[in-house]
Amino acid sequence: MIQLLKIEIFKIFKRPRTYIAFAVIALIIILIQIALKFGGTEYVGLMMSGMGDSFEEIPTTVILNGYLVCFIILNLLLIHVPILVALVSGDAIAGEANMGTLRLLVSKPVSRIQLLIVKFAASVFYTMILLIWMALLALFLSILLFGVNWLGVARELQFNVMESDDVLWRYAWAFCFAAIGLICVAALSFMLSVFSDNSIGPIVTTVCIIIVFTILTQLQIPFYDETIKPYLFTTHMLGWKGFFYVKAVDGVTEKGSIENLSAILKSAAILIGYTIGFLGIAFWYFKKKNILS
């Protein structure tokens, strides 16, 4: 099994297209960092407007530190990275069918279930490497460029402040949560890949599903809040933000606290449930599929 996994990972990282996602992530993050480095004052001013006089005296360089830059980047990126994940997981089975290599793989002395397990595991491995790459650039490069200080997170009716020594562990958990969300997307495109003989189909379908679900998630219409939103996996993918929502007593942040841990755990459980569902369908269908490609 380990040998088969090594083969799949070798194949993924031998393809030039694999590196597109890494290049795109690096480009976006660096562009955001450049923009904030040279135009961060206006951005922070806009963010802090309406926060009252208490923040006016604080220099921009204090507010705009590496932790805040990383938060801004994750806010912008984590909704789009799934598209890059779909590039590899959507290609996992359909790409082999398209190349004509699927029939050769399935005629080898490896069970179809084993083949799917290693293929999905390789997609997960790629997703994790992509996430680590994003963490390195978004968090550590931002810290290097902007330094560290307290993190201020603006919410609808409040502003949460976390001391600098209370932030890094939150990012660690936020990235772990993001991993669960991205694996869920990988499972969705992987499932679609099993049904197709051409990788364009599952990749485009995954992207369309993410776009439609994200729009529904972000629509501020009360009717959808209870009828549709709680069931969309894209709603729960935003759960990583919960690690930056803190408890406050008399306007003072409680260090090391998380406002609603049970909501985060519920979102994680729903994402895992979706992942199991997508994989279950993929395994059920592929086991009996006629390989005609």
């Binding site: 040998q3 088969l4 083969i7 070798f10 194949k11 031998k14 393809r15 030039p16 190349m99 004509g100 290599t101 029939r103 050769l104 793989l105 399935v106 005629s107 080898k108 002395p109 490896v110 069970s111 009996k288 006629n290 390989i291 005609l292």
Partner: protein
Amino acid sequence: MSSIIDVRGLTKTFNEITAVDDLTFTVQEKSVYGFLGQNGAGKSTTIRMLLSLIRPTKGQIKIFGLDLSIHRKEILQRIGAIIEKPDLYKYLTAIENLNLFAAMSGIKLTRKQLVDKLERVGLGERADSKIKTYSQGMKQRLGIAVALVHDPDLIILDEPMNGLDPQGIADVRQLINHLSKDQGKTVFISSHLLTEMEQVADSLLIIHKGKKIADGNIHELLNPDQARIELETKSAKELEHVLKQTSWANKIISANGQRVIMEMRREDVPVFIRQMADMKQDIYSINRKNSLEDYFLSLTSN
């Protein structure tokens, strides 16, 4: 000799279409078994069922005496195959492709062993070239190397000579003979090149519209003791007139234009040729007509 493949009542239907219809055949150990049929006759579907790529609607497949539906993994461990065209990973080199498929069959080979296997199909010098730079013939050779990389007992080759030049075809023919006669492998081969099949196959299975129409030893099927010959001459009618004065008169099948077709015992052919020379008959060419091609066409044409 024991049977390596034993197929009973194999049937596959796709919706309303029956691609393979109640097919029964046996492939003997160490033989080269030719599998023929027109396009759409059900050859690829049958081969895919033998490799468990397609689930049969009905029937049983036993390979190496084991039921394929139960012992899939053990059976596939001992089979090497090319299915239709040898599509491999274009972004990998030949040696990477070979190593990858060896590993999938549970075999670990050194670089030298891999290069040796590539040299056997004439690709040693291009071992480190990416497949996307290969010609169709080179891909075909690499496909054969991939099929043989784990030293299988049964080799299933679907159109292995497609895209090969005459030298390549001769090399594959030699390789098949070597695998069967020297190494004792069983080869199940489908091809459209009937003259090649005639040269390599010991037994034949011909299917038409999913049904078996002929099966057996190639020599018995083609009846080599009886020769059907075609003579090319200046005028078929003149030659027919001359032949009717001789004991060969009842051997004439037809005489039209410049061609006379005759049927006689194989050992009588040289006697006939000598006599024609003595009689100073101008015969431009003599061709044997009971080839596999003629036999195949007689069975499959409407």
